[in-house]
Symmetry: D2
Subunit: 360 residues, 4 copies
C-alpha cells in the first residue's frame, strides 16, 4: 500500500536490498518523451555507492534496464518499467540481525507489523529502494524539461553535523555540487565536512545533516488548494526518504521568529511579470507556486547502522548486544542529493499534469 507515489505521474516501486532486483513501474508518463537507459544511468551513478572515499565502498554497479514503455527512444504513453538487478550480494554480514533488532532501524517495526521479515541487507526497508526513486525521477526530469525547458532543479548538502555552508541558491549548479565529493558546493565548508565525516568513520560513528534544494524557472500555478498544497506534497515526498525527519520551505522554522511585516513578500512588476521582491514564502503562496524559486530543506538524522556496540533485544524478547559489520556509509548526505532532486521532480511532474488537466 505504501509502494505507490503520485496521482497522474504515478510510480510503484519494488525490491529488497538483497533480493533479485529492484525496480519501478511508471504509469502516466506522456508519450513521445525522449528517454533512454543512458540518461537514467547517469542519475543512478550519482546515487550509487562507491563513488568516493567518503561513502560506502560497496560495489553496486546498479545497471538499469528498461523493460517496457519506451520504443525507438521515445516513451509510448503506457507504463514504463525499469529494473536494476542485484549483483552478488553478501548477506552473511547481516546474520546477526536476523533475530536482534538494530536500534533506530526498521527491523523491529517491520517485525511487529508483518511478522515475517527479510533480514538480508535490511530487505525492503533498506535505503537501496531509492534506486527506484532515482530511476523514476530521471524520467520525470525528462518530462519536465520537455514541457518547461527553463526549469532547473539543484540539490546540495547544506549542512553536516554542525557545519553550515553558505550557498547562493540563485546561482548554484549541479556542476558546482558534483565538483565536491561531499556535494557541498562551498569549497571551504566542503573540506571541513570531509574531515567531520572521516572523523566520524574513524570513531565508528555516523553523522547527519541537511540537504537543500532549489527549483529555478518554476512555472506559475502548480499546487492545489487545501490538502495538496505544493509544500505539503513536497514535504511528503522528502519525508518519505529513509532517515529524513524534517522538512521546511522558504523561511521555514526560522520564519516563525519573524514579524509579519518583515516576512511578507511585497509584490512588484518586473516588466510584464508579477514578482516578489523577497522570497520568504519559498516560491509557494496559498499552496500554489508563484513563479519564484522553490527553496526547501530536508533534515537527515545520522545513519543508524554504527560499528559500535549497542543494546537491543531480539525477536524472542531477549536483551542482546550488537554491532554492525560490513560496509556502511558514515554519512548518507552526499548520496541523498540526487534522491531529493528525484523526489522533487516527481512531485513537480505530477502537479504539472494535474494543472494541465484542469486548464480550460
Amino acid at each position: 500500500m505504501g509502494d505507490h507515489f503520485g496521482q497522474l505521474f504515478r510510480i510503484a516501486t519494488f525490491g529488497e536490498s538483497h533480493g533479485v532486483a529492484l525496480g519501478v513501474v511508471i504509469d502516466g508518463c506522456p508519450a513521445g518523451i525522449a528517454v533512454d537507459e543512458a540518461m537514467i544511468q547517469a542519475e543512478l551513478d550519482r546515487r550509487r555507492p562507491g563513488q568516493s572515499k567518503l561513502v560506502t565502498p560497496r560495489k553496486e554497479a546498479d545497471r538499469v534496464s528498461i523493460m517496457s514503455g519506451v520504443f525507438e527512444g521515445k516513451t509510448l504513453g503506457t507504463s514504463i518499467a525499469m529494473m536494476v538487478f542485484n549483483g552478488d550480494v553478501d548477506s552473511s554480514k547481516y546474520e546477526d540481525f536476523r533475530e536482534a533488532f538494530r536500534p533506530s532501524h526498521a527491523d523491529y517495526t517491520y517485525h511487529a507489523k508483518y511478522g515475517h521479515r527479510d533480514w538480508r541487507g535490511g530487505g525492503r526497508a533498506s535505503a537501496r529502494e531509492t534506486v527506484a526513486r532515482v530511476a523514476a525521477g530521471a524520467v520525470a526530469q525528462a518530462v519536465l524539461r520537455a514541457w518547461i525547458p527553463e526549469i532547473n532543479i539543484v540539490g546540495w548538502v547544506s549542512s553536516i553535523a554542525d557545519l553550515d555552508a553558505p550557498v547562493d541558491a540563485d546561482t548554484v549548479t549541479r556542476v558546482d555540487v558534483d565538483a565536491h565529493i561531499t556535494r557541498c558546493p562551498d569549497a571551504e565548508t566542503a573540506a571541513r565536512m570531509e574531515d567531520t565525516i572521516k572523523k566520524a568513520r574513524k570513531s565508528r560513528d555516523t553523522v547527519g545533516g541537511i540537504v537543500s534544494c532549489v527549483v529555478r524557472g518554476m512555472p506559475l500555478g502548480l499546487g492545489e488548494p487545501v490538502f495538496d498544497k505544493l509544500e505539503a506534497d513536497l514535504g511528503k515526498a522528502l519525508l518519505s526518504i529513509p532517515a529524513c525527519k524534517g522538512f521546511d520551505i522558504g523561511s521555514g522554522f526560522a520564519g516563525t521568529r519573524m514579524m509579519g511585516s518583515e516576512h511578507n513578500d511585497p509584490f512588484a512588476m518586473d516588466g510584464d511579470r508579477v514578482r516578489t521582491t523577497t522570497n520568504y514564502s519559498g516560491g509557494v503562496q496559498g499552496g500554489i507556486s508563484n513563479g519564484e524559486h522553490l527553496l526547501m530543506r530536508a533534515a537527515f538524522k545520522p545513519v543508524a547502522t554504527i560499528f559500535q556496540s549497542q543494546s537491543t533485544v531480539t525477536s524472542s524478547g531477549e536483551e542482546a548486544t550488537i554491532s554492525a559489520k560490513g560496509r556502511h556509509d558514515p554519512c548518507v548526505l552526499p548520496r541523498a542529493v540526487p534522491i531529493v532532486e528525484s523526489m522533487v521532480s516527481l512531485v513537480l511532474c505530477d502537479h504539472l499534469m494535474r494543472h494541465r488537466a484542469h486548464r480550460l
Copy 2:
C-alpha cells in the same frame, strides 16, 4: 483535486470564507461509532474565533449540522456530511483586495492559476476552510477512541516568535493546554507570549510560532514502507494547514547535529513489551510506529494580513499600496492547536484502517 484527503478514511471539504456554507463529506467511517453534533461542536468551539481577547473578535458561531451518515446517534458506515453555514458576513472590508493582491497571501496565485477568484474574505484560500478539517477530525477521534481507548493526542503552542516553552510531552494534557488563552501550557511562558502577541497587535503586526503535538498510547505498526511512511503522511497533513511552512518529528532538524551513537534509540524489554530507552525517533522507525510517543512540530509563519501599509500590484499589473481592514488574528497559533490535532487524528485513523485491512 486538492480538496480530498485520506485513502480509507477519506474526506472531501468545501466552502468559501464568505460563501453559503463550509463542510465536509467523510467517506469510509466505520459503522456503529457514536457520533453527535455536540462532540463535533466541542472541537469546533476550540477552533472558533472570538474565544479570547488574543484572537480575532469576529463572531463566527460555527454551528455544525450533520446532514447524513449518522442515525440514532451512531454512524451508518456510509458517507457522513457535516455543514457549517456562514452567518452574516461582511465582505466590504475586502473590497480593496478585489484587484490588489495581499502580499504573501493566496490572492495572486489563485488569480494566476484559475483566472477567476472569490476575493470575499479570502474565498477558498481562507483559513476558514479548517472548520471542515476540525469537524472531520472530531469524527476521526471518535473512531480512534473506539478502537484504541488509550490513545491520547495533545497539541500545544510550544513557541511564539522567539519564546520557547518548556513542556513535558509525556504528561501534558488538553486541560493544561486549554487553561491558557495562548494554548501554551507553561504558565510563565504563556504570560510572556500573551505580551508578545498584544505588542504585535498594537504595532499592527503579527507573529508566528510552533505547535507541537504528542500522541501517547500509540498502536504499534501504523505507517507503510517507502512512500506512505507515517512521518511522510503526518508531514503532508500538517504542511497542508494554512501558514504551515515546516514540519519535523522526533529529533527533527536538531537531530541532524547529533552523532549516530547518541541518536540511536536502544531497545530494552519492559515486561513483555519492546520499548526504546530514548525516543529521538519520535515514535516512528522505518516509517512505521514503534509504540513510543509520536512527537512532532509544525512551524507557522506570521499571519500575512497586517494593518500596515504594504507594496503590491493589482490584477491589471499596476503597482499599489494596501493595508488590511477589519478583524484579523495577530497570531493564529492558539487556534491552530485543534487543527493540528485534527489532522494528526485523520492520518492515524486512516493508517489504522490501512493496517487492519492487511492483517491476516
Copy 3:
C-alpha cells in the same frame, strides 16, 4: 469508501432517503465554467418523481442549492458542493421494514455489512441517492460542452419488459425522448410500454427494461489502455446505478454470435478524417474512443418493491410476510434516463481531463 467516483473530476455524494439532505461535492471541476442552479435544476427535474402519471406520485421538489465553488456564475476551480434538502418525509410506511428485509432490496446486505441501518425510505441504499449523480452530471455536461461544443449525449428507454423500440441512434434527440412520458422516442412502442407499465401497476407488480445511450460528437482518444478502458469505466458507472444488472457496448452480447469478418469495422477516409464504415465496436477500440458514436445499453431489473405479499425473514431470524405500502414506481426506466446520461457525462469529463493531462 464507495461514495466517491472519478479520478480527476471526482465526486463524493452523501445522503439518506429520509435524512436531512442529499448532496455532492465535486473536486476537480475546471475554473471559469458557467454554472448556475437553474441548469442543475433542469436536469434534476427530469429525474424527479411525480413528473407523470407513470411514475411515483411522491412529491419531491428536489430544489438544488449550490453551497460553494461557484462565484458570479462561474466555477472557481475549487470544490463545488450542492445540496437538496429532503422535504417532509413520511417514514411511517417503512415501519414494517425496520425488522423485516424486503426481498431483493439492500435491507439485508446493509444489515449484515454494517449492523446498523437506516430503514427509513431505504436510507442510503435508496435510489434517491441518484439526485446527487444527476446534479454532478449536470456540471460535467457543462464542462464537456465548454470543451467539446459538438458533443451530444442522449439516453432513451429502448425496452420495457419484452417491448423493444426501434430508434435511430444517429439522430435521436433529448427533445424526442422527453416528448414521451416513457422516455421511449418511438411513439408506437411508447404507447405499448405505457400500457405495460399501467398493467403492471394494476397487478401490483413492476417491470424492468433497458436504457440505451448514444454519444455523438465524441472526441478521439478518450480512455486508457489496459484497466481504464473507456468501456470498462462506462460499464462501472452504469452498473453502479441502483437496479442495473447488465451493460454492453457496440455489438455487445449480440456481437458474440457474429463472425470476425462481419464484426470488424473497416476503416475508410472521410475527407481528412479516419472513419469506420460500420460501428460494431460502439465507438471504442482497444479501450480508446475512435471518434465514432458511443453506443451502449444498461439493463435494469424490475423494481424490487412490490405491493404483493412476499416471504422474507427478520433481523432476528424469524420468517415473515411483507408487502409494500406507500408510493413506489412500477417502472424506473423513464427516470433512469437522465441518471444514465449523467453517469456517462461524469466518465467522459473525467477521461477528457485525463487525456489532456498527458498530452504534450
Copy 4:
C-alpha cells in the same frame, strides 16, 4: 494512468507484446501468505498459447520469475514484482501493420492518442498483457484461500457463436472445465464448439462467445454502497479484458423481461443462516454480496485479427488492404477463462480488504 487496478490490493502492470518483458507489481498483499513461482506458473499455463490444437500454435513459454516481495516462501507485506520475459519474438509478420491500421484493433486509437506506437505484435494493446493479470490473480487467489478457505471461483465457456452450453453453476468445477480444450464443461456442446472453431479457422475467420463465472462460498458483505457496488467493480474488471464488450450479473439482460414478483428472491432461514430461495440477484443486493453464489457473464467479440483481406487506411491517410499473417487464435474464449477468474479474484480480494478495514 490506466495500468493500475484496485484500491487496497493494487496492481500495476507493464509490458509490450514484443518488448523485453511483461510483468506486474502488487502493492498491498498481506504478509505471511504462501506464494511461490509454481503456483503462479500453474495459472499462467492455463492462459498460455499453444495449449491445444484450438488455440494459436505460438510457443510462449511464459516462465514467471518473482523479483521481490516473497521471502522464504511467504509474502513480506511489501510490493511483489513478477516478470515474464518475452522469448524470441518474430515481429516481421507485423511489418504490414506498421502503417496500416488493422480494423477493430487498437492500432488506430493508439496512434491517434499517443502519436507514437509500438506496432510489433500489437505492443501494449496486445492481449499478451493479460499474462500480468493472471500472475496477479494467482496471488489474489492465494490470499482469498487463506482468508476464506471455502471460496471457489470457476469460469467456463458458456457459449461460442450461437452454441449455448447447459452448465450447472452450483456444481461445475475447474477440473470439469479444463477437461475440454474448449473450456466448455458440457461434453456435447464442447464437441460442437470445437467444430465451430475449426470451421472458422478453415474459413480464415474468427468467432466470439461468452465466458460465465461463478463464485461459491462467497463471504457476506463485500461491495460498497453507491459507486463501488460489487457488480460495478466486477463489471469494470471484466470489461477491461481485451475484446470484452458486455457484462451482466444474475438475471442480467434476461431479467429485464421478468416481472418484479417473479424476479424478487424471497428470503428464508436455512438453520441460522439467511438465504434466498432463488438467486436472480446473482449474489449481490444493493451492491453488496448476500452470501449466495455470484454468477456473471462476460461477452467477447470475435477476434479482430483475421486472415481475410480487409479494407483499411494508413497513418498517412491512404486507403489500403491488409490481411493478417502469422499465428493467431480463431477464438480466444478458452484462454479467456483463467483471465476472467483472475480479474474476479482481484476484485474480491480488494473488496475483502476494504471490508476488513472498516469492521469494528
